[in-house]
Point group: C2
Chain length 328, copies 2
């Protein structure tokens, strides 16, 4: 099936569309991290993006493109959390009603965040229900627009602005990036970043990082076709549990991704603790996957200059506390 | 007594001297904070500075000016923590031996941090010993250079680079700042910031924020002469317990400070929790005083554009956890 892939020009257009609302997040370094890895690591802090994650970018770009006549009919999204908050906040900015289909066991911080942005929430059961079917039915009923979490060219173009900003910031500092690593679930972010770098800096290697057992992108690239990961016990990376990459992200990944890695829950926990204790940065477990690949040594960073996206900071704070206690 | 005041040119020279080693820290915004205060707040993240606080800047500037012949004789500093780490790390960069006189009850994070940078530590008792006398004696014995925490023109010029960066970043964004707020202990930082803004943007009001009972700057400005605060029970802001501002900082404050505020321990705790939960930022209690003045309403921010320095993030993590638990 042919998919409608976004282009670099779509990312540039997305950047212009979101500029009045989204923050250009900082790209920071830490001397201890650099020394310990024998590398230069630039951390892109999407943890400080509006709504606490990069998901706001894609949602804003998608909802911003809904024709005015359709806006009053609202948007519907299904999400374990950060996409929910991104859609809720973006919809509020355009005065569009938002209805979010969320798992009953979503982290409290993410539930509260979504409600605080004024969205209506419909719960589903991860084990029993098909969230996409629920969302599609709600859209049909209300005439609402479905805002998919990743398999949508406007979402991918929106998330691609993260890559655009990294490339622009690195160029401003005269830094040549050997690689960019980012967490991957359905692949909207990594697909967008890979697309941005394919034009901005084609020699930079782009790598996705998934939780073990939820490594659909890794399996799909190895197989040459979209392949589901086994799943199983829930990962602590609740935002990275999509079993299979989206069609659009996978098509971009096949074209532009250098490699796909996976990290364990223990590696994620250690990284969350390291981020708080040493880097003085709050990051949720899902948001730490890229950095976990460096800290665990699964990506050999020594001698390289690497950018890593810390994608969000909406995890339950108690999890960070527990991670720090275990890391003492 | 006439004091040798630093000039704006000294801040510019300090900026050039520290540029190869110190980070230009980000100046970020948070949409929730802006909305809740009805203001625009730019947060200067010295929490992400090398050594986890702004103190690295002053130490680097001071130690960088020690003549090569004196460097082998080392430096001595007395500090409750962040200045210790700043001096230890700066000394290590110049291959200068560092000896730090620290209180026995300094937070563990700060002790460990100081040791990790390779400094030798000598302990003193806050209640019994005169730390300055101990440090002075050690200097006399070894021929070392004393690196004072705030009452030194090179330290003040180094900390002033925080103000210079804020002014430059604001100008780049086309933002006119109504005010800048920063925590104050001996006054090195606020004195340096005030000096930087007196040239870069004289209409911006500069305000110091101290813990109640350790509000030496506020009392000194009210009295028109250096006046000690009553002290008493230790503040949770362990880094802001200097009873009286330094001569140089006070001289600059008299010339350039618009006002001096004080906040309670409870206000500091709430701010530390708010920073973690809402802003997704780790900040130690001492580093949160400026922001606490906004959040508590002691500074009326409504309708204003304000920069606030978050000065450090080396507090014991358990304190942040406790603050968050109390704020639920």
């Amino acid at each position: 099936m042919a998919v409608n892939l976004p282009t670099f020009a779509d990312i540039e257009a997305a950047a212009a569309r979101i500029a009045p609302f989204a923050f250009k997040t900082p790209l920071v370094e830490n001397a201890d991290l650099n020394r310990e890895l024998g590398a230069r690591v630039l951390l892109k802090l999407e943890t400080l993006q509006r709504t606490g994650s990069f998901k706001f970018r894609g949602a804003l770009n998608r909802i911003g493109k809904i024709p005015p006549a359709d806006r009053t009919k609202g948007v519907v999204a299904f999400s374990s959390g950060n996409h929910a908050q991104g859609v809720a906040a973006a919809a509020a900015l355009f005065d569009v009603p938002a209805l979010i289909v969320m798992p009953k066991d979503a982290p409290r911080t993410k539930l509260e965040g979504t409600r605080a942005y004024g969205a209506e929430i419909v719960f589903y059961d991860r084990d029993k229900d098909d969230r996409e079917a629920i969302a599609t039915a709600l859209c049909a009923e209300r005439g609402s627009t479905l805002v998919r979490p990743f398999d949508d060219p406007d979402i991918v173009a929106g998330q691609g602005t993260v890559g655009l900003e990294i490339a622009q910031d690195a160029a401003l500092r005269g830094v040549a990036l050997d690689a960019v690593l980012a967490p991957c679930s359905g692949g909207g972010l990594i697909g967008g970043i890979a697309l941005a770098f394919s034009v901005m800096s084609p020699s930079t290697r782009i790598l996705s990082v998934e939780p073990e057992n939820y490594d659909g992108m890794r399996r799909s690239l190895a197989a040459g076709a979209r392949t589901a990961a086994p799943g199983g016990a829930p990962s602590i990376a609740d935002g990275l549990m999509a079993p299979i990459p989206g069609e659009i992200p996978f098509a971009l990944a096949k074209l532009h991704l250098a490699d796909a890695l996976a990290v364990s829950d223990l590696e994620l926990m250690k990284t969350v603790a390291y981020a708080a204790q040493t880097l003085k940065l709050l990051v949720e477990s899902s948001g730490a996957a890229g950095l976990a690949a460096l800290i665990s040594g699964k990506y050999a960073a020594r001698g390289k200059t690497v950018a890593v996206v810390l994608t969000g900071a909406n995890g339950d704070f108690s999890m960070i506390v527990e991670a720090c206690a275990q890391n003492r």
